[in-house]
């Protein structure tokens, strides 16, 4: 999807910023000639006098930044807030309001495409974003806000006309982009995930991620996908196609959402088809026994199904990458499984945690534990014949090998861990 050159500085330390930083490098390269991009709206803003010296000197490296990214908007917001704190009260109120608007624009900018960011920048050409007492500031800001609203409306109208595309399995990149900020928030702020070994995940071509499953709701799959999308060294925003329990297909709202996010019902044919199309597939062989695990059984891997995932990997000659997730077991400490209620609703399990169902929907908020996700070195499958998939001995031995690797990695990570939170 993304063919931009990779920024060598984009180390995977700050995942939320690394995506945007690439945008920034591209804009810096094209810093010259902003006027030619100025359209009728932008020309008006561009015709403003050169920026007057601001009342207070600020520590800003560039005198007037020609191109702005959301990061810069956030910096400007902080500056304005600090500056307005020293002003008398009516001006301070205006200053805080201006800072809020700048923040809003910055947040909207994060969701915009490169061309749209260019256009916003051309509108703000020559406007000093710190001088909120200048009428030109408000003119420029008003134009940008109107443009951003128009773009949102256009987007919704286009969706309502059905003008978007999905892949044959139902994955919708636009929906993924909408969900991404939330998942990134859960990843960086809520669970403070540390992902290691991402270099073992191929940037292209097929591979089968095999992970331990835990935590009642399949958050671990979402976090593995976020780790690969945000922190993979190749930064090509590869989408992990997780196989979910086919029971989720029967649930309203959840079924189409999972499909739009690129998740696929866990049926062997689907795994093989995805791998044949050189996708990165993630499976949880423990399945139901993993997610519905009790708190006292945490980090003890359940049986790895019947080795179906090994068969899929052998048939398609895809390398198997064991993944160990630590931290997800404690997000919903499931004390007991109310089987009677589960049977009544037709659920595979019904968790009783210290918070659910006693606190209702509040009990669905997961605990903010600290997570670590370890991607282990791949196990090659191309040394086997595809026919080995029909040999139960090979299949079960490989399955056991993967299980042991994950269990060992989990034990090691648990020993290193100092606190659950």
């Amino acid at each position: 999807m993304n063919d931009e050159p990779v920024d060598p500085q984009a180390t995977p330390k700050e995942p939320r910023r690394s995506r945007r930083r690439r945008v920034q490098t591209v804009t810096v390269e094209t810093e010259q000639g902003p006027l030619q991009a100025a359209t009728d709206d932008g020309a008006e803003a561009g015709a403003v006098d050169p920026p007057q010296p601001t009342p207070q000197p600020l520590e800003w490296d560039e005198p007037t930044p020609a191109r702005r990214t959301s990061e810069q908007f956030f910096e400007v917001e902080v500056d304005i807030r600090q500056q307005s704190d020293q002003q008398p009260s009516p001006q301070a109120a205006l200053g805080h309001f201006a800072a809020g608007v700048i923040r809003l624009i910055g947040e909207n900018l994060q969701r915009m495409t490169q061309a749209q960011i260019e256009r916003v920048n051309s509108m703000l050409q020559g406007v000093d974003l710190r001088d909120y007492l200048d009428p030109d500031f408000w003119k420029g800001i008003g134009m940008v806000l109107r443009y951003q609203i128009d773009e949102q409306v256009n987007f919704i109208q286009r969706r309502l006309r059905g003008e978007y595309s999905t892949d044959p399995f139902g994955m919708d990149r636009e929906i993924i982009e909408i969900a991404r900020p939330f998942l990134t928030f859960m990843y960086t702020t809520w669970w403070r995930v540390t992902a290691t070994g991402l270099e073992h995940v191929p940037a292209q071509g097929r591979a089968l991620l095999v992970a331990n499953h835990s935590g009642v709701l399949p958050w671990d799959g979402a976090m593995i996908a976020t780790a690969v999308a945000n922190e993979h060294p190749a930064q090509n925003e590869r989408i992990v196609r997780s196989l979910h329990l086919h029971w989720f297909t029967t649930l309203p709202v959840i079924a189409p959402t999972l499909a739009a996010l690129g998740q696929v019902p866990g049926i062997p044919e689907n795994a093989i088809r995805l791998l044949e199309q050189d996708e990165l597939v993630c499976v949880f062989p423990e399945g139901l026994k993993g997610v519905g695990k009790l708190f006292k059984d945490r980090y003890k891997l359940a049986r790895f199904g019947r080795g179906g995932f090994v068969q899929a990997a052998l048939r398609t000659q895809a390398p198997i990458i064991p993944v160990a997730v630590v931290g997800a077991e404690e997000i919903y400490p499931m004390l007991a499984n109310a089987e009677g209620i589960a049977k009544l609703f037709g659920f595979p399990y019904f968790p009783l945690t210290p918070f659910f169902p006693w606190l209702g929907l509040l009990g669905v908020i997961p605990l903010p534990t600290r997570w670590s996700i370890t991607f282990c070195p791949p196990i090659a499958t191309n040394e086997y014949e595809p026919a080995a998939a029909d040999d139960p001995i090979t299949v079960l031995a490989l399955s056991e090998q993967v299980r042991e690797i994950i269990q060992e990695t989990i034990n090691q990570k648990l020993a290193e861990r100092t606190s659950v939170f």
């Binding site: 999905t166 086919h246 309203p252 709202v253 189409p256 696929v264 049926i267 088809r273």
Partner: protein, 324 residues
């Protein structure tokens, strides 16, 4: 040159197939009414033949290939169960019997791509070996399941006759009940579900039948566009907004006008046309977006452009016939 009988004149598909096949084969269209669209150089017979008359026709014309389209339910709402069984099931049995007696070499049957049933356990793309599950269905799919059973038993018992079954995804035929439902001002869908569906352009379906007639390979073929589309997107592309309703989640009754089981509004039943691609060399030439756009009413400018194109094509054809 093959001698082909097309049984069933109802619907656009039959006419399109006759038109395409008659360019190189000797084609007779047999139906209870006149064909709905031009059928090229094919000949036609408007009658309701009983089994003896059918045998007489097949023998007299030395038919080699029979294309069986004469099944109720594809184009019109089904009459009562008794009539349907009489027409679809008994009618097919009579046709098979006549074909065997007359020494027909190849039979092509049109079936439905949703014959596998909609279920959460379906793989995302169903291949031809997947079992057919229509016993608990009503209407068209149920009788089709029975017809397919009869046809596959017949094929197993008569290896000298090649039997080809084309399981076509629903056709984008404005007369069909499904398309009329999707084109209605506020089509109801199930709240919280949005399965992917495949809809096939009539021309693509006709090409598939022609390919099957010309290459007697036998067996079942899934015929569908490779890239499905979410149901809600289909409705939006046809110019309306889907109306989510809760009722069918509880009583399992399909919303009024939906001609299939309610399951098809909930789970996907998308089929894999790979076998047809590989063996027949067929693939859909229209993707779903283009095929759906062809159903939309044209704007005045588009209409003018289309008219110019059609006129050009017509004059070219006339000139070519004159030269001949």
């Amino acid at each position: 040159m093959t001698r082909v009988l097309i049984n069933g004149a109802k619907g656009m598909l039959s006419a399109r197939v006759a038109q395409l096949l008659s360019q190189q084969d000797e084609v007779i269209v047999l139906g209870r009414q006149l064909p709905e669209a031009p059928i090229g150089r094919a000949d036609w017979l408007t009658a309701h033949l009983d089994r003896h008359q059918l045998l007489e026709l097949l023998r007299a014309e030395q038919i080699e290939t029979v294309v069986h389209f004469d099944l109720l339910g594809f184009n019109e709402p089904l009459p009562d169960h008794e009539t349907t069984v009489q027409h679809n099931v008994i009618g097919t049995m009579e046709l098979l019997g006549a074909c065997r007696a007359a020494g027909v070499r190849h039979i092509v049957l049109r079936s439905h791509g949703w014959i596998y049933g909609a279920s959460p356990l379906n793989p995302l793309f169903i291949s031809e070996e997947h079992p057919i599950r229509t016993q608990h269905y009503r209407g068209l799919l149920r009788t089709l399941g029975e017809v397919e059973q009869i046809v596959s038993d017949f094929a197993a018992r008569h290896p000298q006759i090649t039997v080809t079954v084309l399981r076509c995804a629903p056709l984008l035929n404005p007369q069909s009940q499904l398309i009329r439902y999707l084109c209605s001002p506020s089509p109801q869908v199930l709240f919280g579900f949005d399965p992917m569906i495949q809809l096939l352009h009539v021309d693509d379906a006709a090409q598939a039948v022609v390919a099957a007639v010309q290459q007697p390979i036998g067996g079942a073929f899934n015929i569908a566009p490779a890239q499905p589309m979410p149901l809600s997107q289909v409705i939006r592309r046809l110019g309306h907004q889907p109306v989510p309703v809760l009722g069918p989640l509880f009583d399992n009754q399909p919303p009024p006008g939906w001609p299939f089981e309610v399951d098809f509004l909930r789970y996907r039943c998308t089929i894999d046309p790979q076998r047809a691609c590989r063996l027949l060399g067929w693939s859909a030439r229209y993707d779903m977006a283009t095929a759906l756009d062809s159903l939309k009413p044209l704007s005045p400018e588009e209409e003018r452009a289309a008219a110019a194109r059609a006129l050009d094509e017509f004059l070219n054809r006339r000139r070519r016939t004159d030269e001949r």
